[in-house]
């Protein structure tokens, strides 16, 4: 039954000297069969894209294969010359990438970029190339393909650009399509569409697809077979069902267990408690691209008439896709962005109206945890100062502030000795813990977590979510959790507000949102969650 188009045997790829390990890929063997989708899964740094790049001869400088073979149609790809590889690329093996925003040449029209594939292999006349380009754009379902032909990449959305990438990859009917995290940068509904498109085209053209991803949800959605990678080795491989339902390796088990499930409790905490934060009629509109003598200013209604309350000890999720205004709401609450209208009542003040010293004082009770663990800590400050700075600015003595910083570090699960170290000495997850300690230093009543776990690998993500839940409990905090990831929201939130185009389209207990969504938009979001069927099945069984 197995019919490999490609066999990798004992592949070993060396990293440059000074890297954290010797081999990016260490003694890896697997087959890619005709007409199947093979998912290579792993966290960042697992070496999951390396073998695909080796296949194409597109490894980064200084990274080179040092052993094994990649057999394709009776030849070892590793032995081919650059010219032979060039003939293969795009024609027999095609590839699409993660960032549709940067994967297309910004200065060339879409038509020319697709036609180039034929030109590279000296096929067809210019006229035929253009006709084929249009056919391909139609096939990948771009709206208004005639117009898209003449467009430049910046005029298309992320999903449309990824469709263009797919059109280019399909142009010469390759036997193998390599998709390197092709949906990671996309919104969840767009992701669902692209996954469906890849699935459909794969069936239609009978291609073998090698799909590289970090997301088990995506794996559940699309994979026929799965290979799980860790530290450059394949730790487990098998059919999608085997690996997802019955993982045998500890690492796979751990990864799968770390995925937040969509199951939510029916009980809602804090609904009867007094609100700590009341938001009413919050609005923010901003204008970009205009200004002095400018033209065509673009008006963005980032936040439109948003109202909600937050009870003591409650976690409210604000979910939405990019551009929904979810982050703007959080930023307006703490006045990192100035709201145009509305009221933010917190501890007897209207945060939206405060100025100067009064605002500085009021901000003590509402703190924020940020998204990017690398950008959220000043690289030139020691951890102690990073945490103690806030209290010191509010008049706490240095000694007391530092003593408190040590205590907080232990509270978030780090060693107190961390106060004398610099941010770069810590991993992403540890930095996020430091960020939490900093937010706690001022003893706030409300914490806003803006995509606080989005940049983390799934296993680290689970730990940080647990920590947040535990701290909330112990310190009786109210939490506003802003995220694009519905799974994360399902795990941590009591109530959820779903945002679209600046408006709250639905607000209710998490259980109701997931099991009984009222708004059509919410429903489409939930349906787009990759691997949802698998998950729900698991829920009914467990």
């Amino acid at each position: 039954m197995s019919n490999p188009v490609l066999s990798i045997r004992n592949l070993r790829i060396a990293l440059p000297e000074g890297a954290d390990r010797e081999f990016a890929v260490d003694d890896v063997s697997y087959d890619l069969n005709k007409g199947e989708i093979l998912c290579i899964v792993g966290e960042s740094g697992s070496g999951k894209s390396m073998s695909a790049n080796a296949m194409m001869g597109l490894l980064p400088d200084l990274v080179r294969p040092v052993g094994g073979e990649i057999m394709f149609d009776g030849i070892d790809l590793l032995t081919l010359s650059e010219n032979q590889l060039m003939d293969l690329r795009g024609r027999r093996i095609a590839m699409i990438f993660q960032e549709p925003m940067s994967a297309l040449n910004p200065l060339m029209r879409i038509e020319d970029q697709i036609a180039e594939v034929f030109e590279a292999h000296n096929l067809l006349s210019p006229k035929e190339r253009s006709a084929r380009a249009l056919e391909l754009l139609k096939e990948v379902g771009i709206p208004d393909p005639e117009k898209a032909m003449r467009a430049y990449p910046f005029q298309l959305s992320g999903g449309q650009r990824q469709r263009v990438m797919i059109a280019m990859a399909l142009a010469l009917e390759p036997e193998i399509l390599i998709a390197d995290e092709p949906t990671t940068a996309l919104d969840v509904t767009t992701q669902a569409q692209i996954l469906e498109l890849i699935r459909e085209l794969q069936k239609k053209h009978g291609m073998a697809v090698m799909f590289i991803t970090h997301d088990f949800g995506v794996v559940a959605e699309i994979a026929d077979r799965v290979a799980v990678m860790q530290y450059g080795r394949i730790v487990e491989a098998g059919t999608a069902d085997e690996v997802l339902d019955n993982p045998s390796h500890d690492y796979t088990k751990k990864l799968i267990a770390a995925i937040p499930t969509l199951a939510t409790d029916q009980a809602v905490a804090g609904i009867d408690k007094a609100p700590v934060l009341e938001v009413e009629g919050l609005c923010k509109t901003y204008v970009t691209g205009g200004g002095f003598l400018g033209r065509n200013p673009r008006v963005v209604k980032a936040v439109q008439n948003v109202s909600f309350t937050l009870a003591e000890g409650e976690t409210l999720g604000i979910v939405g896709e990019s551009g929904s205004g979810k982050s703007s709401v959080g930023r307006c609450l703490v006045r990192l962005m100035e709201p145009d209208e509305g009221m933010v009542r917190l501890g007897g003040h209207d945060m939206a109206k405060l100025k100067g010293e009064a605002l500085r004082e009021a901000r003590k009770s509402i703190q924020m945890i940020f998204q990017d663990p690398y950008a959220s800590l000043n690289p030139r400050s020691k951890i102690g100062r990073i945490i103690a700075e806030g209290p010191m600015a509010h008049g706490v003595s240095k000694g007391e502030a530092y003593a408190n910083a040590e205590r907080l570090l232990e509270l978030v699960g780090l060693d107190a000795s961390a106060i004398d170290r610099y941010p770069h000495e810590f991993s992403g997850g540890q930095r996020q813990r430091i960020g939490i300690a900093r937010a706690l230093a001022l003893e706030p009543r409300v914490i806003i977590a803006d995509e606080a776990v989005s940049a983390l690998d799934v296993s680290i993500q689970a730990q940080v979510l647990d920590l947040l839940a535990e701290l909330k409990e112990r310190l009786n905090l109210a939490l506003i959790f802003i995220t694009h990831d519905l799974r994360v929201a399902a795990q941590i939130c009591d109530r959820i507000a779903v945002m679209q185009k600046g408006e709250v389209v639905e607000l209710g207990p998490a259980y109701d949102i997931f099991n009984n969504p009222k708004s059509g938009y919410t429903r489409s979001l939930i349906e787009a969650i990759p691997g949802r069927e698998k998950d729900l099945a698991a829920v009914t069984v467990g």
Partner: protein, 322 residues
Amino acid sequence: MLRFILMRLGKAVIILIAILILNFFLIHAAPGDPAAVMAGEAGAADEKFIADLREQFGLDKPLLTQLGIYLGGVLQLDLGFSYRQQMPVADLIFDRLPATLILTLTAFVIALTLGTIAGVLASARVGKWSDTFISTLALLFYATPLYWAALMAVLVFSVYLNWLPGFGYETVGANHEGFARLLDIAKHLILPATTLGLFFMAVYMRMTRASMLEVSQLDFVKTARAKGLKPGIIQRRHIFRNAMLPVVTLAGLQAGQLVGGAVLTETVFAWPGIGRLMFEALAQRDYNVLLGVFFVSAAMVLLFNLITDILYRFVDPRIRVG
């Protein structure tokens, strides 16, 4: 497009007015009472004559009124009068302007063409000896004083080798006509334009090289490789075009220095342009001429900037269409 050009012109006019205001105050800061200086030039330094001069040139009026008169004058292309040369400053400058335009434009074209070619070559052979050679040469050009390079060029190519003329705009007394004259001017142009261009060639080369290397790391270059395109096409169509964007911007920003450098080059080669005029005015402390040249060279820079802005819009669709 028209709207864009008009907007840019408007901005240029504002800057020019600001320069004129600056000029006006600088004239007033210049040593010596202008009237007394003028009287001195005219060779009649009695009180009565100076007072008359003051009245004639409005020097007894309030400062703002004087500013108005000055700006009004400039509007009619009156940049003041040079008593040393006994000519209106504007006439002096417009006589000399063509020579400077020829020199700076030639230098600009030489620098941009050779600079980008060298930059592309170096980036294609990064780390190899030819890259090291080009980069070292660029570093040397970058550090060489312009006027010194000019002097050394005269010494080597004109004095010792006697290949090219190192002095003037055309052969004095040769009375060439038509094409022969053009050829003669071109021969005189080679040394000044090349030495003026050296520094900028180095700048563009370094920028092109860095930009090519940076662009070649971008994702769309990997896409192009994944298509199976040949390296030459990737280099030309994908990397080079994108890499030129910052170079064009830089070329616009550097225009000012190019015009400034002309003062030095023209001084060494006795090239009869406004740079040489400035040098002569310096020696005679002829402030009206000095400030006039300053104003006109600023106007030239604005023109260069406008051209590069328009060029940029043609290259980058994001600005053209968006």
